[in-house]
């Protein structure tokens, strides 16, 4: 069952914004903002702000009619959430400095249609141009722009990057995302909790296990389900395996981007071995459908346990070699150190999470801050670095592979006996809501879910770590040469599909 401490505060809009400064001063940081159309229940919209820091999570609930007060000026991390709410609900964040549309493009969407309102009639605007999107412009002698994307040269996802340059160094980068906006939050509404799990695994395929764990934390708490200890152990093992193969791939791409194909291919082969291990464990190379509401779908017998143990031992040996190589090679260090620096202050202002936060010295790791499953028994310490550069992010990934390996080894041969899943016939209490949070390889996956009076989803808000972190790259590239952008981008390795949703 969900172990997160949630302190609820119900307050009027303006009082809250006034206290937001104090909140920040007390070391709290913004985890996310979720709006919800509850006019059918209490004739209001509401906007919920979630803050982390200091053990529990603070929830501030503010009622809204057609507008609410923006807090972007006090808390820059709120900017994107408020733009999103303006798009999808049409609630005006008054005082917001930048109200350009985010996911509903004026190139194909009528801005008076807000699909997440409950009275949205499912009418889809004609596919035609309704307006123009204005990019920021830097003017001056010798300044030129380089436009990249949305379709990129490699096998990667779409996104648009606009660089303003004076000579080599980048003066400004503006990102335009949400090309892949699939409207997943709306798709989930009216579905039951099992159907939703299936959709949730397709938010960001390479992190589906960890994201599903976050979802299940919320879902099972709404449904009042306590899963067995064995299922908890298996979830953690699968989650850490996913973390390892993600990190292996990330480090491989770093090598690739600095021109070291040999170690890169070596790591890609290792990643492939993990995909095959996944297939052997679950029948699927990405472990899709391994988790279920009430437990897990796969059990680990002694042959599977042995396969996992061999794999994590192998990964440790190879990664040790890589670490030594990175630390002893001046050509590698020259490319990684001081590149793409995101300083501590920026990381804090933007409420970063995951590797990106820990590489800038912020001890943010949901497994430790808001422990779930059995993470509170594992005595984990956050692995930190204060460099904030590509080097810090690369080294942290390597160090965290060791941590994950240790976690897995500790659990493998201590699996408690028991069933892997419990029955889940419970019908949730009408309009009960819960939050769920888990640490993916990119940062924390945050869910806010409310059930309706039929046992289906009334509102589901998901906040992907990439959604929080993407804006930071606009600061990370400043002053760097444009040729280093791919490397900086890979060192954060953010998801487009999770961000765009």
């Amino acid at each position: 069952m969900n172990k997160i401490m949630l302190n609820k505060h119900n307050i009027g809009s303006s009082d809250f914004i006034n206290s937001a400064d104090n909140l920040k001063a007390s070391g709290k940081y913004l985890l996310g903002i979720a709006a919800s159309d509850e006019r059918t229940l209490n004739s209001k919209f509401n906007v919920k702000y979630f803050f982390g820091g200091g053990g529990g999570i603070e929830e501030y609930c503010v009622d809204a009619d057609e507008s609410f007060q923006s807090m972007s000026k006090i808390c820059p991390a709120a900017k994107m959430y408020e733009r999103e709410i303006y798009d999808l609900f049409g609630l005006l964040p008054s005082g917001h400095p930048d109200l350009r549309p985010l996911m509903l493009y004026p190139e194909n969407w009528d801005s008076s249609v807000h699909p997440l309102r409950k009275d949205y009639n499912n009418l889809i605007p004609d596919m035609k141009k309704y307006g123009e999107y204005k990019f920021k412009e830097i003017l001056g002698e010798g300044i030129f722009e380089v436009l990249v994307g949305p379709v990129h040269a490699g096998i990667i996802e779409p996104g648009h990057f606009r660089f303003s340059l004076a000579g080599e160094p980048v003066l400004q980068l503006e990102i335009r995302h949400f090309w892949k906006h699939r409207g997943i939050e709306k798709v989930c509404e009216g579905k039951d909790f099992k159907e939703t799990l299936d959709i949730i695994s397709k938010i960001s395929g390479d992190n589906n296990v960890n994201i599903a764990i976050g979802y299940l934390e919320a879902a099972e708490s709404i449904l009042n389900i306590q899963i067995t200890e064995r299922a908890e152990y298996i979830r953690v093992i699968l989650a850490e395996l996913e973390r390892i193969w993600n990190y292996v791939r990330d480090v491989a791409w770093i090598f690739m981007d600095i021109g070291f194909a040999l170690p890169a291919q070596n790591l890609f082969a290792l990643q492939e071995e993990f995909m095959r291990l996944n297939k052997n464990l679950s029948g699927h190379r990405f472990l899709f459908n391994s988790l279920t509401v009430g437990g897990v779908n796969l059990d680990l017998d002694s042959a599977k346990l042995k396969a996992i143990q061999e794999a994590v031992e192998k990964v440790e040996n190879i990664i040790k070699d890589c670490e030594e190589f990175i630390l002893n090679s001046s050509t590698v260090l020259d490319r990684l150190e001081f590149t793409g620096k995101i300083n501590h202050k920026t990381a804090e202002e933007l409420s970063l999470c995951g590797i990106s936060a820990r590489a800038s010295g912020l001890p943010r790791d949901s497994r430790i801050e808001f422990p779930y499953l059995i993470y509170d028994k594992l005595n984990l310490k956050p692995v930190l670095h204060d460099g904030g550069d590509v080097f810090a992010r690369t080294v942290l990934r390597i160090k965290e592979i060791y941590v994950s390996k240790k976690i897995i080894e500790g659990l493998l041969f201590n699996l408690p006996e028991g069933d892997i899943a419990v029955a889940c016939g419970n019908k949730p209490e009408a309009y009960k809501y819960a939050i769920g949070n888990s640490e993916t390889s990119r940062g924390n996956a945050f869910f806010y879910i409310m059930a309706d009076d039929n046992g289906k989803i009334f509102r589901l808000k998901y906040i992907d770590p990439s959604f929080r972190i993407w804006p930071s790259i606009q600061y990370g590239v400043l002053g760097n040469i444009i040729a280093d952008f791919p490397l900086i981008n890979k060192s954060l390795n953010l998801s487009y599909s999770g961000n765009d949703m």
């Binding site: 194909n108 969407w109 596919m127 949305p150 409207g183 397709k202 070596n266 030594e324």
Partner: protein, 171 residues
């Protein structure tokens, strides 16, 4: 021994060869013969992700790892549509990606072919009724072949290419 020389002399791919992935070699060699026969040289492929969950891209990228190393069989993923023969599309086609997808297609010189990878581009997957999804791909482009799977495994994609070459030979 230094790290790099260790990698050079104890080559990963040799181990992989020994690990018995015969089926890929057999399919790959057949693919190579077939591509040489029809195109005279390599088959160039350009990818557009029209709204996937990224697992499909991961599998397409896996085709370049030492286990598969698709380029040795004459299939290359290229950076520009102007160089491509085939457009591979993944994802459910979001409203925002429709235009970039069609533009990429326009920029491929004829003769050109569209292959979709994954269930999303064929049916829209679980997202087909969403307000921001306007797929499937076949509404807009002639699709030569759908490679199914969620996501299709690398070997399934190779088999897909083989099937595609057979179709070309037959026509």
């Amino acid at each position: 021994m230094s790290f790099l020389s260790k990698l050079l002399f104890k080559n990963k791919t040799q181990e992989i060869g020994a690990a018995g992935i015969g089926s890929i070699l057999i399919k790959g060699e057949e693919l190579k013969r077939s591509i040489n026969g029809v195109f005279g040289r390599s088959l160039f492929v350009r990818l557009v992700d029209s709204g996937s969950c990224n697992a499909c891209e991961n599998e397409l990228a896996a085709l370049s790892n030492p286990y598969y190393d698709l380029e040795r069989f004459g299939i290359k993923f290229v950076a520009s549509p102007k160089h491509a023969d085939v457009l591979i599309i993944t994802g459910c086609v979001t409203r925002n990606m429709l235009n970039p997808m069609l533009k990429t297609y326009e920029n491929i010189p004829s003769p050109k072919f569209v292959i979709t990878a994954g269930d999303c581009p064929e049916t829209g997957g679980p997202f087909k009724d969403s307000y921001s999804v306007c797929g499937p791909v076949s509404k807009y482009l002639n699709v030569a072949l759908h490679i199914n799977g969620c996501p299709p495994e690398p070997e399934t994609i190779i088999s897909g290419f083989l099937k595609f070459m057979d179709m070309l030979k037959a026509s």
